[in-house]
Symmetry: C2
Subunit: 290 residues, 2 copies
């Protein structure tokens, strides 16, 4: 494996800004790697949209990262992982990791034998991918899945801890509580910001699984297994450097700075926008490889 | 004016399904005209996105209608009207009508001299277009404008009359109520479905302006003034026929049938999807004309 390849950045894409929670986890786990984030803020959200559309968008998003020369594509968006991971595995010239496998693995690890719950967008839940993954590893465990479509707009409006969010959480989570789940997968990048609101309804004994850290661990492992971990110079004796973070968005939305900082945990600097024509072109080039 | 041109359909576009309220008003006002609706369901919503993105999307949406040979383009989406109407007037080969002018006109007509309020998406309100239009016609009247970003997802979830919607309405509308507005423009195609929720907070004495009917009246007038009203054969003696309704969408979203029927007031039949590449191409052809 050439040093040139190892020095390439890791690419992360998401339907919008929610995936910055994944970027943050990757940066903590792999502080020496350069990371490029692409958020499709022009077409967000994906969770309400159909499979064919989400696959086409995901191909374009991944295509933008591939054109930048990334060594690995991480799909932070749960809906894109649900609908497009198999497709991306076919068309991408680099390895690709989705968020659902690591999330399922983490849920299995922390589960104490009771029913397992999963919440997400309409697309993620209706795709059945989390449910399939859990059933394969925990064939005798009841699984309770629930769409929570208002959670994304509530987070984007900054209403964590607000009475509106509390009321929505009560409604969405009642069936999960009634089923007695002991483990709940937060199957959307926005939901970790609602951990307190969700824990209030579910109670302190329910383990809330945020897939971001499990995904970062999976990325670390994959880079190691494929010999793709960054190395400057000839070996581990080279002084450490902190990896660069670079941000690409398809739109600069209202409240972008505020929402972005909420997910990333610090202000976002150096944002470049990607045009619709660039995205279209990147998606087309990938499709031609397939 | 040739009969061929008069027989062409009227095109209506919107960011998603909300514009079906405008289609309904057009069909009631102009029952003999064929109507083509294009909803950009793949990229909905527009109201949270930036001006440049909304202009590019609006050009593509209008381009799709122009390629179908429409004689008039009606912009049902308030955000697209706010950001792109001037641009569309430059590049379109047919007349174009936005929703803001007719909405302002209707508000001025029903206003009783007190402050006038306007509610809409973040994009519509931040563009200042409604405020400018009102200020021009009512220079001495206080204007109170307010973003209501959760109203769109609440309507899409079908939560009209729900406690969540009541709580959101209380929060958003309190400043308008406190200002004593006597007229309130519902500056988003989704909001007419919340008329009861809004009236409950504002009180029965406040006039709620739904721009759909004013827009349909403006379309009727424009077709008349330009000699574009549909005529089959040679004159008014020809028997009337009911115009066709045709639906194009860029995505078939989850809950599409349910949400569509809610806005249109009847089930939607004969839906065709438009590909991202077709939209990109239609937008590019229009841009080249400019």
């Amino acid at each position: 494996m050439s040093d040139d390849l190892r020095r390439r950045p890791v690419g992360v894409f998401d339907s919008g800004l929610g995936g910055l929670t994944v970027l943050r986890a990757l940066h903590e786990r792999l502080p020496g790697e350069d990371l490029v984030y692409f958020g499709d803020t022009a077409r967000v959200p994906y969770g309400t949209k159909g499979e064919k559309t989400v696959r086409a968008f995901a191909r374009q998003d991944a295509g933008v990262l591939v054109e930048l020369g990334v060594k690995l594509v991480v799909v932070a968006c749960n809906t894109a992982s649900a609908f497009a991971l198999d497709h991306l595995q076919e068309v991408l010239p680099v390895p690709v990791l989705g968020v659902i496998g690591p999330g399922v693995g983490e849920a299995v690890r922390v589960s104490r034998g009771g029913p397992v719950g999963v919440i997400g967008t309409s697309g993620t839940i209706r795709s059945g991918r989390y449910q399939e993954g859990l059933r394969r590893l925990l064939p005798d465990t009841p699984i309770v899945a629930r769409e929570c479509p208002l959670f994304v707009p509530l987070v984007e409006e900054g209403l964590m801890g607000h009475a509106l969010t509390a009321m929505a959480a009560d409604g969405y989570l009642a069936p999960l509580r009634a089923a007695g789940v002991d483990t709940l997968i937060l199957g959307c990048t926005h939901y970790p910001l609602l951990k307190d609101d969700i824990a209030r309804v579910m109670g302190p004994e329910v383990a809330l699984v945020d897939s971001a850290e499990a995904l970062a661990a999976a990325a670390d492992e994959l880079l190691g297994a494929r010999g793709l971990r960054r190395r400057d110079g000839t070996g581990p004796s080279v002084p450490e450097r902190e990896g660069d973070l670079c941000f690409l968005l398809s739109d600069i939305p209202w409240k972008f700075a505020e929402i972005g900082a909420r997910f990333l945990g610090r202000p976002i600097a150096d944002v470049r926008t990607v045009g619709l024509d660039e995205m279209e072109e990147a998606g087309r080039r990938l499709a031609e490889r397939a």
